[in-house]
Subunit: 249 residues, 2 copies
């Protein structure tokens, strides 16, 4: 089994209300790589959020006293930090200028995924989609209307404990089971697998990042050739470890 | 830029002293995909360890009293757990039957990466390579002798906090810088990047896992088409977060 992975360049600037699926399908075809049945389309959450209007004018943000003193101490924009807290349901670590939170979706990441980096001006922030699985499902449905049966993954770029630098991971999915389970299977020696389950969704997100590039603004990567298990109930919520089994709260 | 990823099937059983690089090059060619300059060859640590003789006959292991009582309590093989402790320099979490350790290389993972699953018999365990970067460098050198200039990544399958299921990551590297840094660069809007550095080595390991499969015994995946930065001093040690910045010790 060989996979091919290609980026989808040439997307116009995304705005609230943009038909992003249609723009992706058109741009892929224009680049000589029209989407095809079975593709896994990995879309950076930032453009999903922009299309869904999940941007905030920082001048409209009311800053709480707690946030104000913290932001001042560490020379951060208090309006952006206020959004980080509003997007969080729990602070996991707040050490010096580093703020690791659990988002309302249950993902653990820096700054609740709030992105102030490239939102079309210094006074805007981009929040994560409210329901990344729902976003992915709507994309999958729209791609179907456009004639292709594809799985969709909404990605974001997360840090991780113990290892420097970041990788892309999946925060939303539609059409395919995010996990391949080996539980109960045996290897060629008749021994049970040490690896019990692989989060193929995260591996696909990581693979797609390799063709995106952060500078060149290619927010979509397509993985072709993977045999995936169709699953219309798929959700990235299934990989969130419950608090009882979480050793790193 | 499009990437292709393919597995290298048909490898014979690996034994201590096997010329694994030669076996990989031969098997890839036999499968119609001869290795080529610029490929990134991702090799599962288990076969690296086997070729390096990093297997242990469990009947030779002397079990300490501390390990004996822990293993009995949780119905684990005390000999395998003894090896887990011998391979560790620090226990990060020991909660119920779960044992998260920092290996002597500095990687944080379950059971120090000790693998009792498919080592050619129930009385053998496979340990991680002593120096995975060194292993990767020797592979790279051997591939060069065989006529191809490739980067090499030694991979393992790790769990992670907060997210269920596992993904493949890099534990050793040769020939290419494991990280792409965006520090100081600006996006098309003139704003600095939120993402400062991408661990492309981990993303390559994850991508390669997609063509490996744990059941079908394909321990090698090759990524072709990536523009990587040559770096003869490359090491995965560079991505290990130092203890001062580690919020999850």
């Amino acid at each position: 089994m060989a996979l091919t992975i290609f980026g989808v360049p040439g997307l116009p600037e995304i705005e609230a209300g943009s038909d992003l699926a249609e723009m992706i399908a058109t741009a892929a075809a224009a680049d000589g790589n029209p989407l095809a049945d079975g593709d896994v389309v990995c879309i950076t959450s930032k453009v999903v959020s922009k299309a869904e209007g999940r941007t905030v004018d920082l001048n409209t943000v009311e800053v709480s006293p707690f946030v104000q003193q913290y932001a001042e101490k560490w020379e951060k924009d208090p309006r952006a930090i206020e959004l980080v807290f509003q997007e969080a349901r729990r602070v996991v670590r707040q050490v010096g200028p580093v703020l690791i939170t659990e988002t309302k979706h249950g993902f653990v990441c820096a700054n609740s995924g709030v992105d102030q980096s490239s939102s079309g001006g210094h006074d805007r922030a981009v929040l994560l989609p409210i329901d990344p699985d729902g976003s992915a499902r709507r994309f999958r449905q729209r791609f179907k209307e456009l004639g292709v049966d594809v799985a969709v993954i909404v990605t974001d770029t997360f840090g991780r404990p113990w290892r420097e630098a970041q990788t892309d991971i999946a925060i939303g999915i539609a059409g395919m089971d995010p996990v391949i389970s080996y539980i109960g299977q045996v290897d060629p020696h008749g021994h049970e697998f040490r690896v019990q389950a692989i989060c193929v969704a995260d591996e696909l997100a990581a693979a797609a990042e390799l063709v995106k590039g952060n500078v060149s603004r290619v927010p979509v990567g397509v993985v072709r050739g993977l045999q995936w298990t169709p699953d219309e109930q798929a959700t990235m919520q299934s990989i969130i470890r419950d608090s009882q089994n979480d050793l790193f709260r």
